[in-house]
């Protein structure tokens, strides 16, 4: 009868068993999480518009109406699931005189870790969906949190805030050239000269001597 668990088998990795009570078949949190995971993967792969609610629901093993019920709308699901934090904090604390190069090297290395790849694809998806005002807001907050806040305190000289945001613009330019436009010249270039060249340009804003 309903003690049968075979329904769960079709969804691959188990979806969080509730600690309390004997495996409930229906659990709001498990459903929410299944939808979240499915949406995160699909959105990161194909972007906002190319992924339908029915596809997300199918991957989560859930009815499409539940996706809306739990998250309100596809856009809110996207926002909740695609918030990303670039793991740059560690680099930001490094020595100031070589920070430009270190930042570029870190950005270049993102694609070689799983977490970094996820962050980059999510950021690309956010970027491409940025005609929506809330997405724009999320992007601004990401920039502020990842770049402006850690930098503005360390920069010496005038216009620290402006310089921090210009550095964010530079990193954003590198990221989009690499992963959005996929400039083949940057793809071919070797890590060392790329880090040296672009790192020097960023360093110019870090040093800030006029």
């Amino acid at each position: 009868m309903m003690t049968n668990l075979s329904t769960g088998a079709e969804r691959g990795p188990s979806v969080a068993v509730r600690p309390q009570g004997p495996a409930r078949r229906r659990s709001a949190t498990a459903t929410r999480q299944a939808i979240s995971e499915a949406a995160r993967e699909l959105f990161a792969d194909s972007g906002f518009d190319a992924v339908g609610i029915r596809a997300i629901a199918a991957r989560a093993g859930v009815d499409a109406a539940l996706v809306i019920r739990y998250f309100g709308s596809k856009e809110r699901l996207f926002l909740e699931v695609m918030t990303v934090d670039l793991p740059v904090a560690a680099v930001m604390d490094g020595p100031l005189e070589s920070l430009g190069r270190a930042l570029v090297e870190h950005v270049l290395d993102l694609s070689s870790s799983h977490a970094g790849t996820l962050a980059v694809t999510s950021l690309s998806a956010l970027f491409r969906a940025s005609e929506r005002a809330p997405v724009q807001q999320t992007l601004r907050e990401t920039i502020e949190r990842a770049f402006a806040v850690p930098l503005v305190g360390r920069l010496r000289g005038g216009d620290a805030e402006l310089r921090a945001h210009l550095i964010a613009a530079q990193i954003g330019g590198l990221l989009t050239s690499l992963h959005v436009v996929r400039d083949p010249v940057l793809g071919r270039a070797d890590r060392a000269s790329l880090a040296a060249r672009y790192g020097a340009a960023i360093q110019r804003l870090i040093d800030g001597e006029d």
Copy 2:
């Protein structure tokens, strides 16, 4: 025998707009152009996905099916209509030693001319639709044509091509921070210090001394 566009182009030179009256359109080139204009405006305003072919057709005063008939698909219409060339050629020929600042000033001034605004909004729309491979290709060609080609011949020192593309990445970062993310810090900053700061960073790649 092929119903193609070339035939229509050479056969109706007197297409212009009828001064008045509901005179039947009955001219392929006029219809095509009406659709083009409507699509360009709407796409630049709201991006690819937010604009439907029925809205384009309505603005052009045309049946929606004609949009597909004339352009094959909404994506092909987008590609044909959103090809943009940044009017940067003049700046690129200026003196090398102040090219960084000149480039930034030019980018900042784009929004104050009608043609510049159109170019910027079109470029933003292209960026946001860049999950589609043909759009990515268009973006790459735009970068190549507007930045890489004019620059690579003038840059002295090693890695000229790489440096040209990195400069393109910097300008792209500035453009997207300004018009895609709409970073409020950049919006508030005054033109002079923005041009000085970011111009110096770009100049670092132009000079290229290692």
